[in-house]
C-alpha cells in the first residue's frame, strides 16, 4: 500500500500528502480532482455549453438583418456574435472555480486539508486551474464550430491561436474572481447570487452591437465603463477585423488588471481565512 502511494511514477496514485510532494504536484492532483468533479456533473456544465450555442444559433439568425445597418463591421452576424461562446465559457469558469471552492469550504474539505502537509493555496490554485483547463477545451470546441460554420477568421492561424490564449486568459480572470468571492463568503448560495451580475456584465457590453452603432447614450456610457466590452472587442477583432492593435492592447490591459485584482483578492481572502483558523 505504502509503496503504491509513495511511488510518484504510478499513474493516478501520487500521494500529495507525502511530505516531499512539491506545490506543482499538489496543484496537479487537486486540479485533476476539480476537473473530474466538474465533468461528473453534466447537469452543471451542459447548460453552459448548450446555452451559448443556442444563443449563437438563434441570435445570429434573428439578427442577421442587423448587418444591413450602415457601418456594421461584419457580413454575417454569426461571425460578429461568435465571441459570445468564449465569454460564456469564461463566465462558466467563475461558477466552476467559485462553486467548487465554496463547496470545499462548506463541506470542510479545506479545513481537513489544512491538517495535512498540503498548502491550502494549492487548493485555490487547483480550482482555478481546473476551471481554466475546461474553458480552454470549450474554446477549442467553439473555434472548431466556427470553422465548421465557415466563420472567416480575419487574423489567420496566428490570430486563432491568440484568440485561444485570450479566451483562456479571460476564463482565468473570471475563475480568479469566482475563487476570491468563494474564499470571502465561504458559501455557494452567496456565490450563486453574484451570477446575475456577471450575466449582466456580459449583456450590458458591446456583445450585440459595436459601440459606435449603439443609439442609446446611457448604454454607450455603460459599455465604456464595462470591462467586459474590452474583452469582447479584443477577441472579436481577431475574428472580424484582423490585427487591431488598439483593441488587443485594451483587452490585454483589462485582463492584466482583472487578473491582478482577482489574484490579490484571493491571496488576501486566503490569508484572512487562515488567520481565522
Amino acid at each position: 500500500m505504502t509503496t503504491a502511494v509513495a511511488a510518484p511514477t504510478a499513474r493516478g496514485v501520487v500521494n500529495p500528502h507525502a511530505g516531499s510532494a512539491s506545490l506543482p504536484v499538489q496543484v496537479l492532483v487537486l486540479a485533476r480532482r476539480s476537473i473530474k468533479g466538474a465533468l461528473s456533473r453534466p447537469q452543471g456544465y451542459m447548460p453552459a455549453v448548450i446555452m451559448p450555442l443556442l444563443l449563437l444559433t438563434i441570435n445570429s439568425s434573428g439578427l442577421s438583418d442587423a448587418t444591413r445597418i450602415p457601418g456594421f463591421p461584419a457580413d454575417r452576424f454569426l461571425d460578429f456574435l461568435l465571441v459570445i461562446t468564449f465569454m460564456q465559457a469564461a463566465l462558466f469558469a467563475t461558477s466552476n472555480a467559485g462553486l467548487g471552492l465554496a463547496r470545499d469550504i462548506e463541506e470542510g474539505f479545506m479545513d481537513r486539508l489544512a491538517l495535512t502537509p498540503m498548502r491550502t493555496g494549492a487548493l485555490v490554485t487547483a480550482q482555478i486551474s481546473g476551471a481554466v483547463v475546461i474553458a480552454f477545451g470549450a474554446a477549442i470546441v467553439y473555434i472548431i464550430i466556427g470553422l465548421a460554420t465557415q466563420v472567416d477568421f480575419h487574423s489567420g492561424v496566428l490570430g486563432v491561436l491568440l484568440l485561444l490564449v485570450l479566451a483562456t486568459w479571460t476564463a482565468f480572470c473570471f475563475a480568479a474572481i469566482g475563487a476570491w468571492l468563494a474564499l470571502r463568503s465561504g458559501s455557494s448560495e452567496a456565490l450563486q447570487g453574484i451570477f446575475p451580475l456577471l450575466f449582466a456584465s456580459l449583456f450590458l457590453s458591446t456583445l450585440n452591437m459595436p459601440r459606435d452603432l449603439i443609439e442609446a447614450e446611457w448604454f454607450q456610457v455603460v459599455t465604456r465603463f464595462n470591462p467586459v466590452s474590452y474583452m469582447v472587442d479584443g477577441m472579436r477583432s481577431l475574428i472580424i477585423t484582423g490585427w487591431d492593435g488598439r483593441a488587443l492592447l485594451e483587452m490585454v490591459a483589462v485582463l492584466a488588471l482583472v487578473s491582478g485584482i482577482g489574484i490579490a483578492g484571493c491571496a488576501r481572502a486566503l490569508r484572512r481565512r487562515q488567520a481565522q483558523g
Binding site: 443556442l54 438563434i58 434573428g62 438583418d65 442587423a66 445597418i69 446575475p196 449582466a200 456583445l207 450585440n208
Partner: protein, 260 residues
C-alpha cells in the same frame, strides 16, 4: 371565510407560503427581477438601430418592441422559477407532508399557479417602470394595454403549468435545465428582434408555427394601438394552457403514484 371550499383554502395556503418565501428570501426574489431586466437593458440599449433596418415597420420605438419581449419573458420565466420551488419542496420533504395534508392534490397546483400569477403581476409592473424610464413609447389605449398584460399574465400560467409538470415528475432541482431550456428556446424562436416577415430560412419557418409568436405579435400591436389578430393570440394561448394543464395534472398524478 369558513364557507370557502377546502380545495380553495388549501390552494390559498400554498399560494401564501410561496409568496412569503419569494419576498423574504433574497436568493428567490432577486433573480426573478434581475434576469428580465438584464435582457431588456441589453437588447433595448444595444439594438436600437435594428429598428432602422428596411422593412422594420412598427409604430412605436424599438424600446417598446423589446419591452413586449421582456414582459412576456418575465411572465414565462417567473413560472419556471416556481418549478425550482416545487422541486425544493420535494427535496426538503415538505411536499410529501403537503400531499398528505390535502384531500385534493390539484389544490397544490392551483396554489402555485395563483402565487406565480400574483408574482408575475408585480414583476410586470417593475419591468414596465424600468422601460418607462428608458423611453418606452405607449400608443395603445388603456383597454389595449390591459389586454396586453392579460396575454402576458396568461403566459405566466403556461410557464407555471409547464414547470409544475416537469418538477412534479422529476422532483429534483438538478433537472432544472430540462425545464428551462425548452421554454428558453420557445420564446427565442419567436420574432424577438425583428418582425416575422424579416426573419429568413429555418427561423422564419419555426417562428411561423410557434404559438408564442402570435402572442408576441398581438401584444406588440396592442401596445402600438393597432390591435391585429388578437383573436389568433387568444386561441394560441388558450390551446397552450389547455395542453399544459393536462401536462401539469398528469404530473401531480405521477407524484401521487410515486408517494410524494
Amino acid at each position: 371565510m369558513t364557507t370557502m371550499p377546502r380545495f380553495l383554502l388549501a390552494a390559498r395556503a400554498v399560494a401564501w407560503r410561496h409568496l412569503y418565501k419569494w419576498i423574504t428570501v433574497p436568493a428567490n426574489f432577486m433573480p426573478t427581477f434581475i434576469f428580465p431586466l438584464i435582457f431588456f437593458g441589453g437588447f433595448a440599449g444595444a439594438l436600437g438601430r435594428v429598428g432602422d433596418v428596411p422593412g422594420f415597420d412598427y409604430d412605436a420605438n424599438y424600446t417598446s418592441w423589446i419591452f413586449v419581449f421582456s414582459l412576456l419573458q418575465t411572465c414565462l420565466f417567473g413560472g419556471l422559477a416556481t418549478g425550482f420551488t416545487i422541486a425544493g419542496d420535494f427535496q426538503s420533504g415538505f411536499a410529501r407532508r403537503l400531499m398528505l395534508a390535502v384531500a385534493d392534490r390539484r389544490s397544490i397546483l392551483l396554489g402555485y399557479v395563483m402565487s406565480t400569477f400574483a408574482r408575475a403581476a408585480v414583476m410586470s409592473a417593475v419591468v414596465t417602470g424600468v422601460a418607462a424610464l428608458t423611453g418606452l413609447e405607449v400608443l395603445g389605449s388603456v383597454a389595449e394595454l390591459a389586454a396586453m398584460y392579460a396575454l402576458a399574465l396568461c403566459l405566466s400560467i403556461c410557464g407555471t403549468l409547464w414547470a409544475a409538470g416537469v418538477m412534479f415528475r422529476a422532483r429534483d432541482p438538478q433537472l432544472g435545465p430540462a425545464m428551462q431550456i425548452p421554454m428558453f428556446i420557445a420564446i427565442f424562436l419567436a420574432p424577438v428582434y425583428v418582425p416575422l416577415d424579416l426573419l429568413e430560412g429555418w427561423l422564419h419557418a419555426v417562428a411561423s408555427v410557434n404559438p408564442i409568436t402570435y402572442v408576441m405579435q398581438a401584444a406588440r400591436d396592442l401596445l402600438a394601438g393597432h390591435p391585429h389578430d388578437t383573436s389568433i393570440a387568444v386561441y394560441a394561448i388558450a390551446g397552450l394552457m389547455g395542453l399544459l394543464l393536462v401536462w401539469a395534472l398528469t404530473g401531480v398524478r405521477a407524484a401521487e403514484r410515486a408517494g410524494g
